[in-house]
């Protein structure tokens, strides 16, 4: 019977000691321990979360890079094509220009040649006239002395003329 009879002293001391214990431990042990644990768990969770975030960011960045690269490639291709086109056009134009120029030059040259030819012909005509006059003068002069010689002289002159 003693075993299951509560004794007032032990009830009193248990109650008192337990209440004091709970107050002391609450203030100096449980609160600091639990808040430290919570802080640590939070920091671990945060770290994990930010790592995940960084991973995602990285993936996004990589995708962006890929996209940029693709865009750059497309841009380059476009630019190249445009440049080729322009070059071709310029070449064509140049070619067209050049042939035109050539034709014009050829035309000019022909004209010049014609002019020169005409001028030369005119000069020749004048020269022939002069020479004819000279010959005529010389013949006239020689004729005065000898007919035969006159003829030889004329031949001579004509030979001279041919050589010229």
């Amino acid at each position: 019977m003693d075993l299951i009879t509560p004794s007032i002293g032990l009830v009193f001391w248990t109650g008192l000691v337990f209440l004091i214990l709970i107050i002391i431990l609450r203030a100096f042990a449980w609160k600091p321990i639990l808040s430290a644990l919570k802080a640590r768990e939070d920091s671990i969770e945060d770290a994990l979360k930010s790592a995940e975030l960084a991973k995602q960011e990285m993936a996004k960045l990589q995708a962006d890079n890929q996209k940029l690269l693709q865009e750059a490639r497309a841009e380059r291709d476009k630019l190249l094509k445009e440049a080729t086109d322009v070059a071709t056009k310029i070449k064509e134009e140049a070619k067209a220009d050049a042939s035109k120029q050539t034709e014009k030059m050829i035309g000019d040259a022909k004209k010049a040649i014609e002019l020169e030819k005409n001028a030369a012909l005119r000069e020749v005509t004048v020269k022939v006239a002069e020479l004819s006059l000279e010959i005529a003068e010389k013949v006239l002069r020689k004729n005065l002395s000898d007919d035969k010689e006159q003829k030889a002289l004329v031949d001579d002159y004509i030979k001279d003329l041919k050589l010229n």
Binding site: L3, L10, F18, I20, L25, A36, L37, A39, R40
Partner: protein, 350 residues
């Protein structure tokens, strides 16, 4: 493998060593005549005004503890050594007292037939109260040290800290949160942690067979009853409107059933902590009784050979008690958390 063999060898050695110690005791008590196992066991699991170290009767050596009495004439304080193990009557200016079967009576009032007499209110620092204070100081030292560790090193735990941290997390994640819920568990964490470690440590100290252990504090109905009453207060003071409604006017049932259920629910309010108190008291006391009975077997049979069986068995039970010490602390805390959880639960309206 080698380590294992060593361990076996050492434990066998211990068993034999203890066996011889007990054989020694057989001789000592055998000369005094009849051995009363019942008396011995009851004496060991009961509270006492002195810390018995060794010896019998007048020759025994004990550490006296302070006696604090609230008498008809006021407070009276003296050391229990004055009783000389119950042989002498102590007379002070407030009154005179006798110590009979570890209980203090006013001198001359105790009657053998009725087994009772007039008693002053006894607030003495008994063996159990001493253990109570000792365990409290130990718990404070342990956990304040641990808490300081967190202030010093916010990072990974170390030493004592890493020993206690899983236990604290265990109480939080396996006991408090599943039963009370994420939202409110932090209000009750100090109570649950204190109850858990307080009961566990006292269970363990009770298993130590010599000073400063050996007191059967957590197997004392006053101790478990007080903790249960504190739990009763915590549960019912934190009970919300829904909780009280479920007790006095159960929703969702016809009115006659409501009337029938109210007294039953009211009884359950008190039955729950009562069960807590009885469970802890009975489990721990039973463990002590089994160990003491096995040791008593040697003296009852009066044979050295009995120790070869009794001591290994007692050792086995003692190791089992280590498990029970943890288990009962866990069960008490778990049920306390469960009752709190029922009291603070936000009920879904069905």
């Amino acid at each position: 493998m080698i380590k294992n063999n060593h361990f076996r060898f050492i434990s066998l050695g211990f068993i034999f060593l203890f066996s011889f110690l007990f054989i020694e005791n057989v001789n000592a008590s055998g000369s005094e005549g009849d051995f009363n196992a019942n008396e011995m066991i009851m004496h060991h699991i009961a509270d006492s005004h002195e810390f018995h170290l060794w010896g019998e009767g007048q020759e025994s050596l004990s550490i006296p503890l302070p006696v604090i009495l609230w008498t008809e004439n006021g407070l009276d304080i003296f050391m229990s050594g004055k009783f000389h193990h119950g042989e002498e009557t102590v007379t002070t200016d407030k009154g005179s007292y006798e110590l009979i079967h570890d209980k203090i009576y006013y001198a001359g009032t105790y009657s053998e037939e009725a087994h009772t007499g007039e008693q002053p209110l006894d607030f003495s620092i008994t063996k159990n109260v001493f253990t109570l204070i000792l365990s409290s100081i130990l718990i404070c030292l342990i956990f304040i040290t641990v808490a300081k560790g967190y202030k010093k090193r916010p990072g990974a735990p170390k030493g004592l800290q890493s020993l206690m941290e899983p236990l604290v997390i265990f109480v939080r994640d396996e006991i408090a949160i599943p039963n009370i819920g994420e939202k409110k568990h932090h209000i009750f964490m100090p109570f649950l942690l204190t109850v858990f470690f307080f009961i566990w440590l006292n269970n363990l100290i009770g298993l130590v067979p010599f000073f400063p252990g050996s007191a059967n504090l957590s197997g004392n109905v006053s101790f478990t009853g007080t903790l249960a009453v504190i739990t009763l207060f915590v549960v019912n003071f934190s009970g919300n409107k829904e909780y009280w409604k479920h007790i006095f006017w159960m929703p969702g049932v016809p009115v006659p059933v409501k009337i029938l259920l109210a007294p039953i629910e009211l009884i359950s309010v008190f039955a729950k902590p009562f069960a807590l108190a009885v469970r802890l008291f009975a489990n721990i006391t039973a463990g002590h009784i089994v160990v003491l009975s096995l040791i008593a077997l040697i003296f009852i049979l009066g044979s050295y050979a009995a120790s070869l069986v009794a001591v290994p068995l007692a050792l086995f039970i003692n190791i089992l008690e280590l498990l029970v010490a943890f288990l009962q602390a866990f069960v008490f805390t778990l049920l306390a958390a469960l009752f709190i959880g029922q009291a603070v639960a936000e009920h879904e309206h069905h």
